[in-house]
């Protein structure tokens, strides 16, 4: 499978002297759904800015579908669609014009793109708003407008920098479904997000950047396997005894009908249920105490600080 994005030893020092990137390496395969994670200030947006031509790099190499951004800048850029973190469209232009103009910047004439614009605005629920000024849209509509704008020229690589920040859960779910759909149609997607359940749910590969360096880059499945222990929260039908214990597991009574149980990956969860059954306690629901990826993410970041 072809490589959609290849970054090697990418470095960036701003004029202020801040060393934002100290050596980022990334490989994203064509068709992948890739998460780029890191704490605030880790260098995610700078990396994306360099890939998209918004930030000048200090050193390193970036290739988009094999095309070097220094030597084949125009060609390399033609493959990318960017959904930035902040609204960066003209708030005083109608929705439809913003999308049509973006196509124009990629060399697609107005007449040739009208059908595509209608298709995208309909898919993203903005067709009824097409003649409204962008500033009149709600936050979620503005996010969807940026997705429509990024997709209008049919990019092979879509980069989304925190696309669901500040949107309600309904819009977020809609966007997840939409992104899955276009990824399924072959578009490579790179996503940065602070919602780790979003990354876990959507992405197949993941890279974590911290202090301007790549500290992890692997398949999501492999990363989650590194989690040795999970904590589950169980809701029970019966009242729990004050001194409840489950042999082989670490259990903590939270309240009369809520129990937290730590489960080692090496142990079967069935044993826990069997023991509870034996004690006459029936579990009516169960969930992870925290997101699995979140636990790993925090572990890696903490390890970096140590």
């Amino acid at each position: 499978m072809a490589t959609a994005l290849s970054i090697h030893e990418l470095k960036k020092t701003y004029a202020s002297g801040v060393e934002a990137l100290k050596g980022v390496d990334l490989e994203v395969s064509e068709g992948d759904f890739f998460a780029l994670l890191g704490p605030n200030g880790a260098g995610k947006s700078t990396t994306i800015g360099i890939v998209c031509g918004l930030v000048n790099k200090t050193a390193g190499e970036v290739r988009i579908f094999g095309h070097d951004i220094d030597r084949q800048r125009e060609l390399a850029k033609s493959f990318i669609g960017l959904v930035p973190q902040e609204f960066n469209f003209n708030q005083f232009e109608p929705v439809e014009e913003i999308v049509i103009n973006q196509a124009g910047y990629y060399g697609i004439s107005r007449r040739a793109v009208l059908a595509r614009v209608q298709e995208l605005l309909e898919q993203l629920g903005l067709w009824d708003k097409r003649r409204e000024m962008a500033r009149e849209l709600s936050g979620g509509q503005k996010r969807r407008l940026m997705i429509a704008r990024a997709l209008v020229h049919r990019p092979r690589l879509l980069i989304l920098d925190e696309p669901t920040a500040g949107v309600d859960i309904e819009v977020r779910r809609f966007m997840w479904d939409y992104l899955r759909e276009i990824n399924g149609q072959g578009t490579t997607i790179i996503l940065t997000t602070h919602y780790l359940e979003e990354a876990e749910s959507l992405c197949r590969h993941i890279a974590i950047i911290d202090h301007g360096r790549t500290i992890e880059s692997t398949a999501m499945k492999d990363l989650l396997l590194k989690l040795h222990r999970e904590t589950f929260v169980l809701d029970t039908r019966e009242r729990l005894p004050r001194d409840i214990a489950i042999p082989g597991f670490t259990a903590r009574r939270v309240d009369d009908t809520t129990l937290e149980v730590e489960v080692e990956r090496s142990r079967s969860i069935n044993n826990m249920f069997a023991e509870l059954e034996r004690q006459g306690i029936h579990v009516i629901s169960m969930r992870n105490k925290s997101n699995r990826l979140e636990e790993l993410f925090l572990g890696l970041i903490e390890a970096g600080k140590a």
Binding site: E74, N88, N101, Y105, Y106, G107, I108, S109, R110
Partner: protein, 257 residues
């Protein structure tokens, strides 16, 4: 990008720019019509009627070309500086920077927008001038070429100003403290023949003098400077500013960190 893609990209910026200034015509087109009408009334009619002819032209006929080209200069500059700075300020310039458009197309699109506004305002002022005098054109080719090159030059100046600007104050400093004095001292309202020899020579260092006089030559056949020299100077400035604007955009000055 192939040629047809470049054409589509260029037309996108130009169309967007024309729609922008026409949508807010009360701010972009009307003021020049009103201000220049006042110039015609006060300087041309009231004061001018008391003055002797200059180089065989009534004072009104003498100042009309200068006032038209002054409006063209101001508006070509103002259009690009305000539009491109707004694009930076609102960050929608990033829409173009992420695209495969080469730098020269971005400059060309914005500059063409500035030329378009300069020409629209020039036509409005010319129409107003026709209420005050019987306008004749001495040499259409010269007049139109000066309009094109002057608006091109000032649009490029506006672009460079916008690239360096970090605040809305920065986009008014150059027009207020540099362009307006040079324009008023550039022979719009007088012939440099009226000045003492030292100031005549000093005026020859003002590039705007050449644009005003070249246009006056095209309209009336009268000029303080040799038209060919004027064209050489204007074209020289255009080439230098265009190359500089492209260089700034390629480097990302004021746009990319």
């Amino acid at each position: 990008m192939n040629l047809s893609q470049q054409r589509a990209a260029f037309m996108t910026i130009l169309r967007k720019e024309i729609l922008r200034f026409m949508r807010i015509w009360v701010q972009t087109v009307l003021p020049a019509g009103i201000i220049m009408t006042l110039y015609f009334v006060i300087f041309g009619k009231l004061i001018g009627s008391q003055l002797a002819d200059i180089q065989g032209l009534s004072y009104m006929d003498y100042i009309v070309p200068g006032i038209i080209i002054m409006a063209i200069m101001n508006n070509s500059y103002a259009n690009v500086v305000s539009s491109f700075y707004s694009a930076k300020f609102q960050r929608h310039v990033e829409e173009m920077l992420v695209s495969p458009m080469p730098s020269y197309l971005i400059v060309a699109g914005y500059v063409a927008g500035g030329i378009a506004r300069g020409c629209v305002v020039g036509l409005v002022v010319t129409a107003v001038a026709m209420f005050f005098t019987d306008l004749q054109v001495y040499d259409w080719a010269v007049a139109l070429l000066v309009v094109f090159l002057t608006s091109l030059l000032f649009a490029l100046g506006g672009f460079i100003n916008a690239v360096y600007a970090n605040s809305f104050d920065d986009i008014s400093i150059v027009p207020t403290f540099v362009l307006t004095p040079l324009t008023y001292l550039g022979g719009v309202f007088y012939s440099i023949d009226l000045l003492p020899s030292f100031w005549q020579n000093a005026s020859l260092g003002n590039p705007i003098l050449y644009m005003v006089n070249a246009f006056r030559y095209g309209m009336t056949g009268v000029s303080d400077v040799e038209p060919r020299v004027a064209f050489a100077i204007i074209i020289g400035f255009v080439v230098v500013l265009y190359a500089f604007a492209i260089l700034l955009l390629r480097r990302g000055t004021g746009i990319r960190s």
